[in-house]
């Protein structure tokens, strides 16, 4: 296996991009990543694109062809493009497939992208499309919404470990603060714990401000071999680990509802592959689709003991200048969560941080970063570890 590095990144603004189409956003993200890497269309060996539900959100399937075509890479170059789907973890999975293409020696330069256009349908339809990440036949049909499933994780976490609504809210408050410093973020305003607790109840105990929004956005990274990376950039970011784990699609089939087994296992596999432990990680982008999801993630990845995630967040231990900065980008809560794009956007953020170009939200001395991307309620978890040093 060959070592792999990121040599270029690109990302659109995330949000309700009513004036822009699905095609507009993936072209913008893709082109900016190629410009960042300083490469041409002729250099691209393949494209992997994460997209959860083009069929429901823009009534368009065959996303690989569309992206290659409107990126100007299909009609003469016939660049191969593959769509990758694992619900909200589609982006992370696209990155993993792209890494394999380089590591195996099959391609020398590959683009890993993610794109989702969710606001071209009504929120009703978007919510229903997202619910397809859970078990349609045995969770959805009885009236379990997606926030409802995470609310059940939160309820049991509170019951078992004494986690409070204020602690949940503090995840959102911290992420909103980080988001004020991120130009691509959908929401760039400070909030307080009261903002969260006074927002409307979605599924008890989760309020509207415990939930990530419906968003449009696209993101893209360019990969090549670690050996060749310095030809393109002075600051390559090296992939130290890629790990994927699956678990039961239904929440009710897990032995412990408050633990995402897929996250635990993907984390272990990633640490093993990189030869590192959680103590070696300087910053993490985790999948905070709901506030409780961030609390579970930082416990399941080994940064805090089970049950300590809420307290630690409330006490400020996951802030940008604290011992383990979590979601310096602002996370899914404030960047927005265009589902297919999220996993790639996490890699874009870690790349910016390890290059030292993350501006006001820069984590001092960041050397090693991690991303954590989840599909559904934890049926899929993808973890990557990145480093400034080879």
């Amino acid at each position: 296996m060959r070592d792999v590095a990121i040599i270029g990144v690109g990302c659109t603004k995330f949000g309700e991009l009513w004036d822009r189409s699905f095609r507009d956003i993936f072209v913008e993200a893709g082109v900016s990543s190629l410009e960042d890497a300083g490469i041409q269309g002729e250099d691209i060996g393949g494209i992997y694109v994460g997209n959860m539900s083009g069929g429901r959100f823009v009534e368009q399937e065959h996303i690989g062809s569309l992206i290659a075509d409107y990126s100007g890479l299909a009609s003469t170059l016939h660049v191969p493009a593959t769509r990758v789907e694992a619900a909200c973890a589609s982006g992370g999975l696209a990155l993993r497939q792209a890494i394999f293409a380089i590591a195996s020696g099959y391609n020398d330069i590959v683009v890993a992208a993610g794109a989702e256009k969710m606001t071209d349908v009504s929120p009703d339809i978007a919510t229903d499309a997202l619910a397809a990440a859970a078990d349609r036949e045995w969770e959805g049909i009885v009236g379990a919404t997606f926030p409802g499933l995470y609310a059940m994780i939160a309820r049991l976490h509170m019951h078992t470990y004494g986690t409070t609504s204020e602690q949940l809210a503090s995840v959102s408050v911290k992420n909103h603060h980080n988001g004020t410093m991120n130009p691509i973020a959908q929401f760039r305003n400070e909030i307080t714990i009261d903002t969260v607790l006074n927002s409307s109840m979605v599924a008890d105990p989760l309020h509207m401000f415990d939930c990530s929004p419906i968003s449009d956005g696209a993101s893209s990274v360019v990969l090549t071999t670690a050996d060749a990376a310095k030809k393109y950039t002075d600051t390559p970011v090296y992939i130290k680990a890629t790990a994927l784990a699956c678990d039961t699609i239904s929440l009710h089939d897990r032995p412990d509802i408050t633990t995402l087994g897929a996250t635990v296992e993907a984390g272990k596999r990633a640490y093993r592959m990189a030869g590192l432990t959680s103590k070696n990680i300087d910053l993490v982008e985790v999948h905070d689709c709901f506030t409780i999801a961030e609390i579970c993630a930082i416990e399941d990845l080994g940064f805090f003991k089970k049950g300590e995630g809420g307290r630690a967040t409330y006490d400020g231990e996951t802030a940008i200048d604290a011992q383990i900065p979590i979601n310096p980008s602002g996370g899914l809560k404030t960047c927005g969560h265009p589902v297919g794009a999220t996993g790639i956007k996490q890699a874009v953020e870690i790349t910016e941080q390890l290059r030292g170009t993350a501006g006001k939200r820069q984590v001092d001395g960041a050397e090693v970063g991690m991303t954590h991307n989840v599909g559904g309620t934890g049926g899929t978890a993808v973890v990557h570890i990145f480093s400034r040093n080879r």
Partner: protein, 132 residues
């Protein structure tokens, strides 16, 4: 209501109406929703139909205030993960005052209307739970 074609709903009617799942008689584990492969024994497993007794307890729950499509008439409603006495868990509605539901509460299954597609569309029936 999550819309399902007639065939998709109809083929699981015995399971949805009467809580019929499966049991692996090799290891003894029960499954609902039904599984044809036992995750413990895999191809050594011996899967047979099993009708659950319908008694269990609430593992965790939520009160839904922003409903799933078609459930607005019922809002707010309780959704819970229920561990059946046989040891397997499922997701279902618990019919009671949202203030009453709690973790550890004993419940039993009842046959109820889940919802309907439209005035002239399909009516979906299935299993819900009530406090024991």
């Amino acid at each position: 209501m999550i819309s399902m074609t007639v065939a998709r709903f109809w083929r699981m009617i015995p399971n949805r109406y009467n809580l019929i799942g499966t049991q692996c008689t090799n290891c003894g584990q029960y499954y609902f929703p039904p599984r044809k492969i036992c995750p413990t024994c895999r191809r050594d497993g011996k899967i047979e139909e099993y009708k659950f007794k319908g008694k269990g307890e609430v593992v965790t729950y939520t009160v839904i205030h922003t409903p799933a499509k078609g459930y607005d008439q019922q809002t707010p409603y309780n959704i819970a993960i229920i561990k059946l006495d046989e040891g397997t868990s499922l997701t279902g509605q618990v019919i009671c005052d949202p203030k009453e539901i709690q973790i550890g509460m004993k419940v039993r299954s009842v046959f109820r209307k889940l919802g309907e597609e439209s005035e002239r569309g399909m009516i979906y029936y299935g299993t819900k739970f009530v406090p024991e």
